[in-house]
């Protein structure tokens, strides 16, 4: 038998689930604000260094960004499917679908690594390390400072999200959740959706416009 998931200070599982869900949404709000600072900085510098930023933006591989967008959106779909199975009490399928999502996440990180390697070879590097021959316009070093900060922080979130999916997926596979109580699965899915959502903003901001 599993120990009851109800903590001593809650009246009911419903209230406890409500509390966990609310906490997750608040936490996601803080995550959004964390990235907002970087996005705001990026927007300001794009405005100040129009030429440098647009040339640098065109110099990076749009196709990798595009494929990564597809990968992440698909992974969101598989995570949502996993959550759906958890709500029906089919924990094994939840575990499997979370596993598939983790594979997508690995593919995303793999492509990102290819991209980073390319940047290092070309000298598309932040601040004083910048020696990219193709873009001489002012703002190039700043573009890559912000590029690495934003995509780096996002990649960090992908890694954290992956870890969460693995832990919760394994627990779900072992049958720790029930249709009545699967808030941890919900919260893991919410977190993963946020990681995707942030990328949905990163992709156009850095690669397209």
């Amino acid at each position: 038998m599993q120990p009851s998931p109800l903590a001593h200070h809650f009246e009911s599982l419903d209230k406890q689930a409500h509390a966990s869900r609310l906490a997750m949404w608040i936490f996601l709000a803080t995550e959004v604000l964390l990235f907002t600072a970087l996005f705001a900085g990026y927007s300001v510098y794009r405005f100040l260094f129009y030429d440098g930023f647009s040339q640098c933006s065109r110099s990076i591989e749009t196709w990798i960004g595009f494929v990564n967008t597809l990968i992440l959106v698909t992974s969101s779909f598989t995570v949502a499917t996993g959550l759906n199975f958890a709500a029906k009490g089919q924990g094994r399928k939840t575990g499997l679908f979370f596993g598939i999502s983790v594979l997508f996440a690995l593919a995303f990180l793999g492509l990102k690594a290819v991209e980073y390697t390319h940047h290092f070879q070309e000298g598309q590097l932040p601040g004083p390390y910048y020696h990219f021959a193709a873009v001489k316009a002012a703002g190039g070093p700043l573009f890559f400072s912000l590029y690495f900060l934003i995509t780096g922080l996002h990649a960090f979130h992908v890694i954290v999200g992956m870890t969460v999916l693995i832990v919760i997926g394994v627990l779900a596979y072992r049958g720790r959740f029930s249709p009545a109580y699967h808030v941890p699965v919900e919260n893991a899915a919410l977190y993963w959706h946020l990681v995707d959502l942030i990328w949905i903003f990163v992709f156009p901001l850095i690669y397209l416009i």
Partner: protein, 555 residues
Amino acid sequence: MSPSPPPPSESPAFAPRNYLNSPETGLRSWLTTRDHKRIGVMFLVATSVFFAVGGLFALLIRIELLSPSPFIMDAMTYNRLFTLHGVVMIFLFMIPAIPSGFGNFLLPLMLGAKDVAFPRLNLLSFYVYVAGALLALYGMVHGGADTGWTFYTPYSTTTVTRVVPILLGVFIIGFSSILTGLNFIVTTHALRAPGMGWMKMPLFVWSIYATSIIQILATPVLGMTLLLVAIEHAFGWGLFNPALGGDPVLFQHFFWFYSHPAVYIMVLPAMAVISEVVCAFAHKNIFGYKAVAYSSLGIAFVGFFTWGHHMFTSGQSPVDAGIFGVLSMFVGIFTAIKVFNWTATLYKGSIWFKTPFAYFIGFLFFLVFGGMTGIALATVSLDVDWHDTYFVVAHFHFVMVGAVMMAFLAALHYWFPKITGRTYPEGWGLVAAVMIILGFNFTFIPQFLLGNMGMPRRYFSYPARFHALNVASTAGASVLAMGLVIVLVYLLIALRFGPAAGRNPWRSRGFEWDTPSPPPPENFEVTPVITRGPHVYDDEAVEYPAHAPEPKHAT
């Protein structure tokens, strides 16, 4: 609250089984506790230690300024000291002291809950705070920083002092602030006792709730900003350095987007305390409950749109500056709503002039005086003259230190019996309160005058014409410090030898007094059912405080 608590004569003076002695008393049981009351006490102890450290720095600064020329230290030491004074007082004392300390202890008690929503997260928040504080402390001992607590770029990214550990320390403390804020919001939503609707929540809870909203929305931006400064200082990425294409004004925007709301993270909990104290010691219903409750949210909301008033001289357009100036004055409206309601609460009350009430009077004076000078500073044309002078220093010390310290001390005395189960010596309490209030005035009123005469802040030496007022300010600071030492001494003695207080020595109607003092580990013997509003003193059940003046006018 039902079932109604036993009358105090029947309850034992010192609750035999309480959170201090059960389930265990060892150090280990404290360090691994998930009891919000113990975590609150640990926060109070930690923040008080940093209050003393920050105060010591302040005294050293004041001693140096006794003389227009170098006196006891060199310029670099002086720069480090005022930076550390600011960092310690703001990030290590004021921001966590009332919310994480008293808030932790009181919020579940006031809501009739057994604990906060996430007790383990709560303990984590404490350790994150300690880790950040230790890192910042390490930075201070090893080189310190000379940037001022505002870390303005490009100076902060090029200074030779070791600013990175301090930045990272503050960054880490931010997570503690976020975790505590998140915990409190969820607790308020999910763990109110049966019968407690939003309009039956004590005003303390309303203010702490508003504070928590600011904590979770503003802190991430500060965290990111300080991280960027640290990265720039360490690797020279040029994000805010104009020599490398960066924009230092962008840093100021980011910084004040957090740090102005942070002022309300400090002062809203102070208002939370005062709303409780004024009812308990006037022994009267709060006047305008809804107005006081909603004005807390109003301050939290408007506080997010005023940050530009720190940058009137940083090259903002006159339109921007004007808008920020007017928005800043809105804060004054919400604050005035509170002040008028508090004073209206006193009207026809049976006032019991005890130490917390003395601090309430001090609070009211400092808040109004500091607030009015704030309105003056929000006027762009005046601010251009006063910017970066001692006028600004005196203004924000009146609000942030004066008002917040008054509230902290009022809370410490008002809830001392609840937290420890013992009473403090009332006579010494009043003596210290008078010394602190007078000392504070003598410290900072001269600084208003100095600022108006044109003395810039953060300067190591000054022309001889500023000498007399600086000496007066230092004299005031020493009286203030003496008062605080007296408080420390008698509270430590009372902790051990103070007479048992009994369940509710103030005959307060606050829900937290319905349980024994100190409270049992699970807060209430039976889950309370709330049947009356908070701060209700006009029903039959009300007991007047022993020795308190009888109400002169039946209301």
